[in-house]
Amino acid sequence: MIFGRLFDFLKVSAHQVARKRMRVFLTALGIAIGVAAVIGTVSLGEGVRYQAVEAIKEQSDLTLIEATADIRGGAIQFITPSKIDELAAVQHVEASSAVVREAYTTKRQTYLEVVGIDPGGIEGVIRPKFLRGENLEPGSRQAVLGHDVAETLQRYEGVRFGDTIPILIRRYDDDGMPVDEEVQFTLVGVLQERDDAFDQVMLIDRRVAQDLRGDEAAFDGVLIRVDQPEEVFSVVDDVKALGLTAKGAFQQIESVNQLMDVVVLILAFFAGVSLIVGVLMIVNTMVTSVFERTREIGITMAIGASPADVVYLILAECFYIGLIGGVFGNLLGIAFTGAINTFGKPFIIAQLGDTFSTFAEGDITLITPEILAIGMVIAIALSLVSGLYPALKAAHLNPVTAIRTGV
């Protein structure tokens, strides 16, 4: 019965709207332009976001993340053997390996960032491609160098593949005086360039690192390989749920998203200002329409309509204005983004520079079904809100005076 009435009201209002096609269309166009502006700017923002994220995915090792100790409410969550097991059991973790992080200096004072990791972990988690040589042998004082650090050592210290790297490890004696112990590592492998942090890292066996630190159970983090890029954020959430911190290339995506959220919001806000014009147009049209139909509304009440019925009849007309506005807004918005892609893209790429050269391949705007649905909802919701004042005005008409109004 409710639907029956809704249908009846929509039908009557469709007749009313059809009678004033031109006026309704022009009014709807006002809201349509606002919707198109919002769609255009939001889709541009979303497009840039998408392209930036794709660029990050392409240029970095996204599925590699590292879980590290975290401070929660003053208490440190250490990497313990049980945490390591729990991390390994997280869904979509393909491989994981506990690591020790150290900072060593060579005898000639070159600073080295060191990661102690099981050779199996290097293979399963870091997945290295060797420029030279091969993986570490378990338990031995061997080193694999990242691409950049290998270059640095060769240039400044003349260390070549197969050479030993003399390293000074600072210890403190019983009196608290620093004593440097010299340790030799054999360079057994050099990695290809990866464009990530491992280019700067010297990899050594975990047990050797723990040994040199003098603490068998010291872990600084767990490197994790996620099985597919789509699952990275779910694994990150699970890591956080274990009370640990997660680091990795995904953080760049997070910061792009945060930035783009703000950018899109601000763009949409300014575009949304044009919606106010559309709202005012609807209010104006509907107030005029109610005024013109004063007598008709009086008669409608005389033959049994309640004030609420009158409100629904007017709102149903506004619903159509919103519907038309939404459809045309979406079409205009699509056309608008098409124009941005054709004429605006070369300019934007030139401004962003090389990092975003991948932009050239795809569209710089992104229209999703959600954006179009939101455009539709905005148009209809604003039309209904705009219709509220005229509808209440109509419902408050005194039927007697309305009927006495000559036509």
Binding site: R5, I299, T300, I303, V400, V407
Partner: protein, 221 residues
């Protein structure tokens, strides 16, 4: 015959100065066809609006079908209009955006009826008022007389006890006026619907069962 409308000391004043109705007392019985006569400004429309629950009196009572009307109860007034009253006005009665048949069905939008039954009833009424072939015509495509016939059909669709008509023939030529008048008389006799019809013209008044005449807001005969 049972009483269907009764007014007791009915009065209506505007701003304590203009007195539209003063101490109006009369009784109309079920099935009567009554003419309401009076000069312009004598209070005929005001009386009709009060009887139909559109306007409230400033004094006195209205009884319809044995019940006193509570003019402060908006819901009851709406129910009265939906269930017991059919209104016909002088002109521009119809909704321009709707066809003849949709206009006739229009009151039932607010007093929901089964759609199929509603349509059948509207079609029957169109034939009754002699416009069986004009169902899909819009008001602007019909003559004044035809529009009034549609208005009569619309007033009848809710099976009202009473039809209140405010100068339904006021804008028509004399021949059409006779036809419309006869049509209402026919409905009155066939369906025993009570009619109260405002008119300027005494000769039409003579063709009614009886006439009530107002002068300056008072019943004079």
């Amino acid at each position: 015959m049972e009483t269907i409308i009764e007014t007791k000391h009915l009065g209506k004043a505007y701003n304590d100065r203009v007195t539209a109705l003063a101490d109006v007392n009369f009784v109309i019985r079920k099935g009567e066809f009554v003419a309401l006569l009076g000069r312009s400004g004598s209070g005929k429309s005001t009386l009709l609006h009060i009887l139909g629950g559109l306007d409230a009196p400033t004094s006195g009572e209205v009884w319809i079908n044995g019940k006193s009307i509570d003019f402060s109860d908006r819901k009851a007034l709406i129910a009265l209009r939906r269930e017991s009253i059919g209104f016909i006005f002088q002109s521009f009665n119809l909704i321009p955006a709707l066809t003849a048949r949709e206009n006739i069905e229009y009151p039932l939008l607010f007093n929901y009826h089964d759609r199929v039954a509603r349509r059948e009833r509207a079609t029957d009424l169109l034939s009754l008022v002699g416009l069986g072939d004009r169902a899909h015509h819009y008001p602007r495509e019909m003559s004044g007389g035809e529009q009034q016939r549609v208005a009569i059909a619309r007033a009848l669709i809710g099976d009202p006890l009473i039809v209140l008509a405010d100068e339904p023939t006021g804008n028509l030529d004399s021949k059409t006026r006779d036809e419309i008048f006869s049509l209402m008389r026919q409905v009155n006799q066939e369906q025993e619907t009570t009619f109260l019809i405002v008119t300027h013209e005494r000769e039409l008044g003579r063709r009614a069962d009886r006439a009530i005449e107002l002068l300056d807001g008072r019943v004079v005969s």
